[in-house]
């Protein structure tokens, strides 16, 4: 079911397939997107594929249709197709724009040396980049690896802080075994895959979560990286347990992420703002520490957050509004929506969330995306790009246009 739009010089089409065979699904999705482009030549392919597919065959299937153009993407915890939230499918977005410049780069081994991986990816995209305006850097990360804040710093050391970095962390349909990222012909894991976009295109970004604080603020008295050791000089796990109860925490220790746990993320209050950066608790340390889904800032204030469906839907609408605010013409919209939100909202409301975004961007604008294990974006819509962070439980809307 392909859709297409032409916005000034940016035309985007979508192809989608639910075929059970990976190679056929990739081929079908790419073919239907390419058919809609008619005589235009695609310059970039963005791919969101179910983790149930054989990933190499999926990418091969797509490349057999689109040829050697830059290709990037990732495995998902669910895809967002023109039909709304779906699973076990492949979605391909083809962008055709004559002056659009894009290069795909890979940085590997994020789990061992995240900053170096970020630098490696940034150097790779710059190596072939012809120069000119840089619109933004699309980042596809591994959702089962932490430390992407460091990788972003690595990217910024090479690209500078004026290029917005946005993207999502690959998922594997909530199996938490292995996720994949696509870079041209490669299928990789534990990597930084980036697309540097340049030319006369603009990138609009909106990220929201809709959660509100419920507990009293606690000072983060000891933290390093994504490990939260102490809150108000008490072991973080015991404070966490005060709120969620010992029985649930005990069960979370055994099973890892659970619906009840992700329903109450930790919110880190950003200085001088009324915004909270969300983190979910990934695991419990023997020393009473909490391992979080992203970096935790020492000395910041932390509160337990609560959400509801209406707030979540409203957040999606706001994110979409922020994303398109600075654009004259919207060519296409990418949505990186947290898998947590899909789980919490349930299938019916997850579809409503995408419908809210569509209401804002218009029905004719192509919209694709995926459910992720984390989102990368600057804080808020107006904040400095230098403060790109890894988010959790948020809906990130990225609008490409002029």
């Amino acid at each position: 079911m392909p859709t297409a739009t032409a916005s000034g010089s940016l035309t985007a089409t979508i192809g989608w397939s639910e075929h059970a065979d990976a190679a056929i699904a990739g081929k079908e999705a790419a073919e239907s997107a390419l058919k809609r482009l008619s005589s235009l030549k695609p310059r970039l392919a963005l791919v969101f594929g179910s983790s149930w597919f054989n990933q190499a065959q999926l990418v091969q299937g797509i490349r057999s249709v689109v040829g050697q153009i830059p290709l990037a993407g990732e495995s998902t915890a669910g895809e967002i197709s023109p039909r709304g939230p779906v699973s076990r499918s492949c979605v391909v977005l083809l962008i055709a724009s004559e002056p659009l410049v894009c290069r795909v780069g890979v940085g590997e081994r994020v789990d061992r040396a995240p900053r170096a991986a970020g630098q490696q990816a940034a150097r790779a995209v710059l190596r072939e980049f012809p120069g000119g305006t840089r619109a933004g850097f699309l980042l596809f990360g591994d959702g089962l690896v932490t430390g992407y804040e460091e990788a972003v710093r690595g990217i910024q050391e090479i690209l500078g802080t004026s290029t917005p970095i946005v993207g999502g962390m690959a998922g594997d349909d909530l199996r938490f075994v292995q996720t994949y990222q696509y870079a041209n012909h490669q299928v990789v894991s534990r990597a930084v895959v980036g697309v540097l976009l340049g030319g006369p295109v603009k990138l609009g970004v909106g990220i929201e979560h809709g959660f509100a604080p419920i507990s009293k603020p606690r000072r983060i008295t000891r933290a390093r990286g994504n490990i939260l050791y102490e809150l108000d000089e008490q072991p973080a796990a015991s404070v966490y347990e005060e709120y969620l109860g010992p029985e649930l925490v005990q069960r979370m220790r055994g099973r890892g992420l659970m619906r009840q746990g992700i329903a109450y993320p930790l919110g880190i209050q950003l200085e001088e703002t009324d915004q909270w950066l969300l983190r979910s608790v990934v695991s419990f340390g023997e020393d009473g520490s909490l391992s979080c889904s992203g970096e935790v800032l020492q000395d910041a204030w932390l509160q337990l957050m609560i959400g509801n469906r209406e707030l979540a839907l409203e957040a999606a609408r706001k994110a979409a509004q922020h994303a398109i605010r600075s654009l004259n013409q919207v060519g296409c919209v990418l949505v990186f929506d947290s898998a947590i939100r899909r789980t919490l909202l349930g299938s019916q409301h997850a579809a409503l969330e995408i419908a809210r975004i569509r209401e804002v961007i218009g029905v004719s604008t192509p919209l694709v995306g995926c459910y992720t294990y984390g989102e990368h974006a600057p804080f808020g819509a107006t904040a400095a790009y230098g403060r790109t962070a890894t988010h959790t439980g948020s809906v990130l809307v990225v609008a490409l246009g002029t």
């Binding site: 507990s215 009293k216 005060e242 709120y243 055994g254 619906r259 009840q260 349930g346």
Partner: protein
Amino acid sequence: MGPSLTYIILAIATLMTLLLTLGSAWVVQSWGIIATFVVVGSLVYLALKVESARLELNELRRLRAAYDQLDKQAKLIIRTDLELHRTQEELDRRLTSLMSLHQLGRQLEVSLRPEEVFSKLDTATVMRFGFSKGLLGQCPSPDTVEWRSLIRISQSAADHLKTHLVASGLLKQILAKPAPTMLQSASVTDQAQRKLLQLLEVPAVVVAGVAPHAGPAGCLLLGREGASNSSDAKADEELVSVLTNQLEIAVDNSTLYEQSWRSQQELERKVQERTHELAEANAELIRLNKAKSDFVSAVSHELRTPLAAVKGYAALLGKGQFGALNTPQAERVAKMERHADLLTQLIDNLLDIARIESGRITMERILIPVKEFLATIHEVVHPQLEAKRLRYLVESDGVVQLVGDPQHLRRVFINLLSNAIKYTPEGGMIRFHLKPEGSSVLASVSDTGCGIAPEELPKLFQEFYRANDPINQQIRGTGLGLALVKRIIEAHQGQIWVNSEKEKGSTFSIRLPVG
């Protein structure tokens, strides 16, 4: 304003104290009183300030207590909300499982044989129930199991499980007590059960028997990753109970279906046998009927010649060819002649019926002008009509010709009219009506006679059947007239039927093709 004022007053007080200390000799003389006022004023202000700070501190403590109170309430809200999430999660799981059960139920419904039922468990269903692996087998006897569905279990592992279940007696236990039971490695003490968990490589398994009323029993094992608490275990047991219940119903149904299918096959076979026997009997009847017709034909033929002689001699005797007869003799001879006529007529009719049945008479198909046809008939029946003073009404409704054998059709209508005359009392009416009806002509003979009882109607056209009424007892007849009429009409591809009402009259109708 508060703090800065405090600092100014403190600064003045300090300055005054300094001045008092440095130049007490001359200042005391001139400014002593002022300085004392300032110092005392400052001290009073400071005292007030301290009191205010104490009050603010109390307020702060109160606010902090309220804040902590709110935080406690937040904890309460979170716990309550968590319970809701948990319930929601449980409901979602149940819903998914029930949907799966529903889907499985639909698949099971179309299982026509018990063996098929046991092979219907698939990976998707097991996963949706929240289990990671499973086995479903059919038990031809309590000592063995034949696995039909293996979900994420290798054949060799399944063979080992079979050997263990049989050897340890677990299979017998499961079949004797088929209700689902959750076995968890953390709580199981029985060695056989512990080994079962080891062979399955899971920390928890639900074992259940499938015990249908009819058909073979079965055994179901569903293993799950991760330990369950008691409520989860109970929910799993309930779920598996519904599942085994469905399997039992499906086995029952498929067994009944198999039985009814076999019964139906048996029935069909018997029907075929009976049909064959009936066909043979029918063929025999046809053969016998032909033999009867041939016999009647032969006998009648043989009777005709001597009968012609009897009739001839009786006629000669009656005419006095062999001498004048006295009255009693003449009467007897006349009677002989009448009876011989009747017998001749009977034999003629019998012969005709036999000829028509055996196909030895073919009906001509020629155009018969209606006017002349009706006139010849009228000629024959006129004396009888006159004798009984009956009204005779003929209507031909534009029908100008008939198609058929004129001689035989004349017999038909004369016969019907004679009957009508016979059964209609004096002064009655007889109506002979013809009307076109598509490619046929509908001819009917109605009378205002005594009518025919309803129970007599079906037998009316049978050979030798005579309605049981007073007139028939008085008037002699062969009982072959209507039988012959029916055969002649059928030989013309026509139809004949009768409508009658007792004491009102009868109508004999004939549909005769003319196309």
